[in-house]
């Protein structure tokens, strides 16, 4: 019901903008994002369009690309992909009460997700209450995942397959921030619904946290009956950049059903993440996130299912040029490179003492052209080397991606 309303309100505003924007642009105000923001503010820090004095603002982004890839010489050919189409709708109910929602259509309409729909009530800058469907503040990418922000077509492996971005759940909690000169300190802490047994009972044949996302029930019922705690602290220095430490953990299995004990122990997932966004030299930036997950796997289950997972990605971006080009005032050309790694099963085989594989290395050089800040055309080449569980010679995949992403 709520979903329908959001869509229709967005659609109405959408058509409104479309018909009249060009004739009388003064009715509509394009609200550009702040220039200084912390990762935690990513949801609000987006371009919105507001009509006159209406309290409602809308926005969104779209991401599409071409892909050609081959694994050890075998290719599935060339495809076009419409990865995401997302609509935001925000409203300032009173000065200190805000609402924002984000509705995402993935791969056409294959998946429709309400990624965010929460009310924010400010008591004090240090104490804001947030409730609704929230994005768990684990790592940086999960909350700051909008396609147009990134110079890569693919989302990072560790942030999508260990942290299952976009990972959002119904829940409540608090967030706040404190400014002190060049420094800003922020925190977030929420209790939400969480994971279920599919993380170890899935057709991937490995511990796979994203498997939980298929469970739509989680918006209504918390599978384990015990809340998932997510907390993050971040500090930002105006010149240097931002550093964040976060944790998310809770029980994923269901022990009691109909008053009967159906499982003898609580089994937990605990995820730790560290992220940083640093200004290096002129025009250069480093964005990195590391993740470590611990999962209780039942003793009799196969050690094919990792008890520990680890991954990171590091994106280095260098601005090569920024100047007016073909009427675009601040066209920017960037060169970037992503290095990433995931190990889905950290440990050794009891049978041989040898290392358990199940890991992927990937490097992605990218060339990104931003005719304007909110739009990016990007050309990527991704080279990935994946080892199976036993650590056999890796399967090598090369992928050429060309994509466009833009806020609108």
């Amino acid at each position: 019901m709520c979903l329908k309303k959001i869509v229709s309100c967005a659609a109405v505003l959408f058509t409104l903008t479309d018909i009249s924007a060009q004739k009388d642009s003064s009715i509509f105000r394009r609200e550009s994002p702040d220039t200084v923001f912390m990762n935690k503010d990513a949801v609000y820090n987006r371009p919105f369009i507001r009509a006159g004095k209406m309290p409602l603002a809308i926005g969104g982004y779209v991401e599409a690309n071409t892909i050609y890839s081959a694994t050890d010489g075998v290719s599935e050919g060339f495809s076009f992909q419409m990865r995401r189409f997302t609509l935001f709708c925000s409203s300032t109910i009173t000065k200190k009460i805000k609402f924002l929602s984000e509705l995402e259509f993935e791969d056409g309409t294959k998946e429709i997700n309400l990624e965010f729909a929460a009310l924010d009530v400010e008591f004090h800058p240090l104490l804001n209450f947030r409730g609704g469907v929230i994005m768990n503040p684990i790592g940086a990418f999960n909350q700051n995942h909008d396609g147009p922000r990134w110079d890569f077509v693919d989302r990072p492996l560790s942030a999508t397959t260990i942290i299952p971005s976009t990972w959002s759940n119904p829940g409540f909690g608090f967030h706040g921030r404190y400014y002190g000169g060049a420094w800003t300190f922020a925190y977030e802490a929420y209790l939400t619904n969480g994971f279920d047994e599919s993380i170890i009972e899935n057709t991937e044949g490995r511990t796979w946290l994203p498997a939980t996302k298929v469970n739509r029930e989680r918006f209504e019922e918390n599978h384990s009956g015990k809340p998932l705690l997510t907390g993050k602290m971040a500090v930002r220095q105006r010149k240097v950049g931002e550093l964040g430490l976060s944790y998310m953990g809770g029980v994923y299995n269901r022990r009691m059903e109909d008053g009967l004990m159906i499982d003898s122990t609580d089994r937990r997932v605990d995820i730790f993440a560290a992220d940083m966004n640093l200004n290096l030299w002129k025009g250069a930036n480093l964005l990195a996130e590391g993740t470590f997950a611990m999962i209780d796997v039942p003793a009799g289950y196969s050690s094919q299912f990792g008890k520990k997972q680890y991954g990171f990605f590091a994106d280095i971006t260098q601005r090569i040029m920024q100047k007016p080009v073909l009427g675009w005032e601040k066209a920017t050309l960037l060169a970037a490179c992503r290095l990433e790694y995931v190990d889905y099963n950290l440990g050794t085989f009891t049978e041989t003492g040898g290392n358990i594989g199940d890991e992927i290395w990937a490097v992605t050089p990218s060339l990104a052209f931003r005719p304007a800040g909110q739009t990016v055309l990007r050309m990527n080449y991704k080279y990935a080397s994946a080892r199976d569980l036993l650590g056999n010679p890796p399967a090598k995949t090369g992928t050429i991606l060309f994509g466009i992403a833009s806020y609108f």
Binding site: G205, G354, F369, N392
Partner: protein, 403 residues
């Protein structure tokens, strides 16, 4: 303008160099997987369907378990090659040709893993057992196409020729769904087994149905009962409607196994390899590891009238007390093992995590160790191997690695 040119240029370069910068196809001789040559488009499609089913990972929701050894065919037969100690399974309950006495206690196979909410099976104290490392799956269609008469031609139960080698077939009680082909011969209702370490499976359907059930805990039309952990209950306990794998998938997997290509020998022009092969024949290895076979006509044209080089006789040999685990299947003695095909030997490491694990349970870490473990009927050629010079031994090994 420069930017535009730069952008167009890079896109152009990337597009043109597509083929170059994408990882290349490994040479046919360097991998074990892939179809035999000469399949029709229709057969290739069936091969692909089988390949997909072979790679399918079962979960508790799709039928895995409740007790199991691993989650998919491919998890034990990576790249269609040999397995690893992690994927090794345990058979138990039969000490001689009178049969398995532990069938109502969980035999013939231990499912030492269980889905959440179930307990894995424990090996009953005192039960005879043996560990089986997964063999390679390559070229099986050629071995399956041979006639029983061809196999029997090499059998020499009473060692009539006095060479100390007396290969015998294993005779297996066929499962209810077994349909004999024109080339099968029965003996008192039993048929010759060809597949498995003890030649315990008559054909690839029996092997596949058994694997689904015993290895993955997946029921099929052919065997609709999940494996049971008798320590908990003598009933199968699982919520998934049976059969858990479709008949189409089972048949496609069998088709896939039949049409997997035979391994291709490498370095054939190397003089050492050629000399090594001669030594292999000279010291009697080829008496059991028979190099060359030719198939009769087959329903799959690509398999018919083909000469291939598996280096096996598919017969059982008494390998001496060192390899006698005290466990057996069918009519075999516990010291008897089916001659392992040696084709693909040199590529074994690529599916074994970079190391060799040879012989039925992977106890040999090198080819030489494997040779030195040959006892019983293999003792003669082992002794001759020991008598060779180091250069000769290296040549023989070089030959074996080229397979």
């Amino acid at each position: 303008m420069r930017t535009i040119i730069l952008l167009l240029l890079t896109s152009g370069i990337l597009a043109v160099s597509c083929e170059k910068i994408l990882p290349a196809l490994p040479a046919d001789e360097d991998v074990l997987d892939g179809p035999v040559e000469g399949l029709t488009a229709e057969q290739q499609r069936r091969f692909l369907d089988g390949d997909i089913a072979f790679a399918n990972e079962f979960s508790p929701q799709t039928g895995l378990g409740p007790i199991f050894v691993n989650t998919s065919c491919i998890s034990c037969h990576a790249g269609d090659g040999k397995g690893h100690p992690f994927t090794t399974l345990t058979r138990y309950g039969q000490a001689d040709s009178t049969g398995n006495t532990y069938l109502l206690a969980g035999g013939p196979q231990l499912q030492h893993r269980a889905i959440p909410g179930h307990s894995p099976e424990l090996l009953p104290a005192g039960a005879p057992f043996s560990k089986f490392l997964p063999p390679a799956n390559t070229g099986l269609g050629f071995l399956a196409a041979l006639t029983d008469a061809q196999l029997l031609a090499n059998a020499d139960p009473n060692d009539a020729n006095g060479d100390g080698i007396s290969g015998v077939p294993n005779y297996i009680n066929p499962p209810g769904f077994f349909v004999p082909q024109s080339f099968h011969q029965s003996l008192n209702g039993r048929y010759i087994g060809r597949f498995g370490r003890k030649a315990g499976a008559i054909d690839l359907l029996q092997q596949t149905v058994g694997a689904y059930k015993q290895d993955i805990g997946v029921t099929s039309e052919f065997d609709p009962n999940d494996p049971i952990n008798y320590a908990v209950s003598s009933q199968p306990l699982d919520n998934i409607p049976d059969p858990e794998v479709s008949t189409a998938d089972v048949r496609n997997v069998v088709f896939y196994l039949r049409t997997l290509k035979a391994p291709v020998q490498r370095n054939t022009s190397d003089a050492d390899v050629a000399e090594g092969k001669q030594l292999f024949v000279n010291i009697g290895c080829a008496k059991c590891h028979i190099p060359e076979w030719t198939t009769p006509a087959s329903d799959i044209a690509a398999l018919g009238n083909k000469t291939f080089y598996p280096y096996t006789d598919l017969l059982l040999h008494d390998m001496g007390p060192g390899l006698d685990d005290g466990y057996t299947e069918g009519k075999a003695l516990s010291s008897e093992w089916r001659t392992t095909p040696l084709w693909g030997l040199g590529l074994s490491k690529n599916s074994q995590g970079g190391e060799y694990f040879l012989m039925h349970d992977g106890r040999a870490k090198t080819i030489r160790e494997a040779i030195l473990l040959h006892g019983g009927e293999g003792q003669g050629s082992r002794d001759q191997f020991n008598g060779m010079s180091e250069t000769e031994k290296l040549k023989l090994e070089k030959f074996l690695e080229s397979l």
